[in-house]
């Protein structure tokens, strides 16, 4: 039976592909979760159940792991995920103003998804590009040397 989630993807197929790629090994739980997260934007409950079944790890442990790491999400996310670097160097370099501009533009709080399902706003730990801070990531695109004025232009690029 194939299960579909909100993003219209076949969860079963994606989980099976991830599990197969990592040889169904219990110690590969995190790479498997990352893969599923990457494919679906988050890890729905049915994916967690399937992973538990396939690699013989109790559901409670799969969930404990999935909810521990910041780059894994067990809650649905928007079409695009913005990860804003909240580290000190970016903060010192004017990150706060950019952050405020971002909040103003998106009208959501960190951790939330916009009502139209387009954006999810998250903070992230250091992306390691402090020299070009403030920095944020939109999906896989990384933007450095940000100023508040650039925010609307950047957001406009995404459908």
């Amino acid at each position: 039976m194939s299960k579909l989630n909100g993003n219209g993807r076949d969860v079963n197929k994606i989980v099976n592909a991830a599990v197969t790629e990592y040889h169904s090994k219990p110690e590969e739980l995190i790479p498997i979760l990352l893969k599923v997260n990457q494919e679906l934007g988050f890890i729905p409950a049915e994916a967690l159940e399937l992973i538990s079944e396939r690699i013989h790890i109790p559901e409670s442990r799969v969930y404990s792991v999935a909810s521990f790491y910041r780059m894994l999400s067990t809650k649905p996310t928007g079409r695009h995920v913005i990860k804003f670097c909240e580290s000190a160097p970016c903060h010192v370099a004017g990150g706060r103003e950019v952050w405020n501009a971002l909040l103003k533009e998106l009208m959501i709080q960190p951790g939330e998804t916009s009502p139209d399902g387009k954006w999810t706003l998250k903070t992230t730990s250091c992306l390691g590009v402090c020299a070009v801070g403030p920095v944020m990531m939109v999906d896989d695109d990384i933007y450095g040397n940000l100023t508040p004025g650039q925010i609307p232009d950047i957001l406009e690029k995404y459908e």
Binding site: M71, A88, C90, N100, A131
Partner: protein
């Protein structure tokens, strides 16, 4: 295939040819032949060894001796000493310091690039470029000439200490791992560079991945590990991709996998991606994470060297430590130990960030002062403002004020000053930085990253954050400073892992050096640096405002009123002090009071 124990590379560059390098080659051939060494020593010609100014030049491998200014007369003695007696002829060797200066093209006078020597110079996705820069020569040398003991001795003599932060002597660490009796052993590279403001490891992984891989293979050979893992944070997708390409190429070239370089030593490597947890930089948490568990540290003992990954003896070093290894092997322990201070040898990479003109990556010998780093290497403070503090060692480090500008940077000195080396992040702050805000900021980071396993860190950091937040909000109470101090002392003393034990450091160091700022917040309800929102007001100076309306248009809460071309006004009751008006004003009319 014939096996040569030594190789002589003779430079055949036009300049060297002109200076007679072919005659040198002939002389070498006849001399070696007369001593019956032609079966053991191979002579090759190769383009460009040094800069040919001191030609004819030759290189002797695997030792990597670089002889210059040779003449035919030197050859018999050289062959006798080098190939019969096995010792270098020092008089003919190229001076190492000079060679380095020429080869590496030091970015600034204070820098010496060992770990970063190839970064930005070679194409990291092409193993041949690394090999061209003497890559894997150290590995070849170790596998053919060194016993594990020899490697440990060399590393111990070099004085190399773990670059992950704690500074444990690497040679000693390897010796412990080697002495573990259990059959299966693992080697782990900690590439979970989580300190905000630190990105040295990322640069090495992205720019010169093979140096780390080579260092790891040497370590694996030394301790007897057959499988290794590089645990890299998922925030570094490019580093992970580059590493995977490098590993694949190394495998293709027989440098990883079974029977490395034709010897009976086998070792393979795998990259493990983190998933966003700062605490996984702690070695026991990192191990748990590789095993597919929540990244929670566990008490030590048992130490990973005895019981680590999958319950087996495991050696963990960080990226920079491994990247140093090939150079130490090639250039010798003495060369490495000649740099740095008495107890901290060699060079250290730092990531320079914050309010410094030249942010970026530097590599300097230990012992350099903070002033030299900030002003000579970093070019001074942005906008020529005042230096206020430098934060070293990441979120568990401390903030040092201007009094420490002349502090020589090494493991011990930084610790004595109330900060730590950490992995090498340095955040420079100017006088517009509020130290209470900074302390609150780091505490927010730590309490967000606390795994929650132990009470002092889980609860203590949250209580501290609450206190710091209320101080920044202008709601500080008498006794808060003392409470912070008491909590700091206990959290440091009682927490399970380094994260908790170091968590109070930013507070402790700012309380020590910037106590008056805390007092101003609490007792005068003032933020001297004009940062803390609740304690400041934004005002528009009538004499500077031209009425361009930029501020009013950008204000997210419509707190600014005013007609075009007339002075604008900010309603303090509506204003949320986000600072956007100040950012967008081109006339510096917005003032913070």
């Amino acid at each position: 295939m014939t096996y040569f124990r030594s190789h002589i590379l003779v430079c055949n560059d036009p300049e060297c040819l002109e200076k007679g390098s072919m005659e040198i080659m002939q002389a070498l051939k006849s001399e070696l032949s007369s001593k019956g060494l032609l079966d053991e020593v191979q002579i090759l010609d190769t383009p460009r060894i040094g800069n040919c100014e001191s030609g004819p030049e030759i290189l002797v491998y695997p030792e990597g001796f670089h002889y210059i200014n040779l003449s035919k007369e030197n050859i018999p003695f050289l062959v006798e000493e080098q190939f019969l007696k096995g010792r270098p002829v020092n008089d003919l060797l190229a001076p190492p310091k000079k060679e380095e200066a020429q080869e590496l093209g030091e970015p600034t006078a204070k820098e010496i690039r060992v770990v970063l020597r190839n970064c930005g110079k070679i194409d990291p996705q092409n193993i041949e470029e690394y090999i061209a820069e003497d890559g894997y020569q150290a590995l070849a040398k170790v596998l053919t000439q060194y016993s594990p003991d020899d490697v440990i001795n060399t590393i111990t003599q070099s004085g190399l200490r773990g670059r992950g932060g704690a500074g444990f002597p690497t040679g000693k660490k390897w010796a412990i791992a080697r002495d573990s009796v259990d059959g299966q052993k693992y080697l782990v590279c900690n590439a979970d560079e989580g300190d905000p403001g630190a990105f040295m490891n990322r640069s090495v992984l992205e720019g010169d991945p093979h140096s780390v891989i080579e260092g790891m293979i040497i370590a694996a050979y030394t301790i007897g590990a057959s499988q290794g893992y590089i645990y890299c944070r998922a925030e570094y997708p490019i580093a992970i991709r580059t590493l995977n390409i490098a590993i694949e190429q190394a495998r293709e070239y027989g440098l990883l996998g079974k029977n490395i370089i034709g010897t009976d030593f086998s070792f393979d490597l795998e990259v493990r991606k983190g998933a966003g947890a700062f605490v996984c930089g702690e070695e026991t948490a990192l191990i748990a994470s590789i095993e597919g568990k929540r990244g929670e540290p566990r008490p030590r003992p048992p130490f990973p060297a005895v019981k680590g990954l999958f319950g087996k003896p495991t050696n963990i070093n960080n990226v920079e430590t491994y990247a140093n290894i090939p150079q130490i092997i090639l250039r010798g322990a003495d060369w490495y130990a000649s740099m740095g201070t008495e107890k901290s040898k060699g060079t250290k990479t730092f990531a320079l960030a914050g309010d410094v003109k030249r942010t970026g990556l530097i590599e300097v010998p230990f012992g350099i002062t903070v002033r030299e780093i900030v002003y000579d290497v970093g070019g001074g403070i942005k906008n020529d403002r005042e230096f206020k503090a430098i934060q070293t060692g990441g979120p568990m480090g401390g903030c040092l004020p201007a009094e420490y500008l002349d502090l020589p940077v090494d493991y011990e000195k930084l610790t004595q000053a109330g900060s730590i080396m950490g992995s090498g992040g340095m955040v420079v702050m100017d006088d517009e930085t509020c130290m209470v805000d900074i302390a609150r900021f780091f505490m927010e980071f730590i309490q967000d990253e606390s795994c929650g396993k132990c009470v002092p860190c889980r609860v203590g950091t949250r209580r501290m954050l609450e206190i710091l937040t209320r101080i920044c909000n202008g709601e500080g109470r008498d006794g808060d400073i003392e409470l912070l101090e008491a909590l700091s002392a206990e959290i440091k003393q009682d927490s399970l892992c380094g994260l908790g034990q170091g968590a109070p450091n930013p507070v402790v160091s700012t309380l020590k050096h910037f106590r008056s700022e805390y007092e101003a917040h609490i007792y005068k309800k003032e933020c001297p640096a004009k940062v803390c929102r609740a304690l400041i007001r934004y005002e528009i100076q009538a004499d500077k405002c031209v009425g361009c309306t930029a501020c009013a248009r950008n204000c997210p809460v419509n707190a600014i009123t005013g007609e075009a071309k007339k002075t604008h006004y900010i309603d303090p009751d509506i204003c949320i002090r986000c600072g956007i008006c100040k950012q967008v004003c081109n006339y510096e009319a917005v003032l913070v009071t």
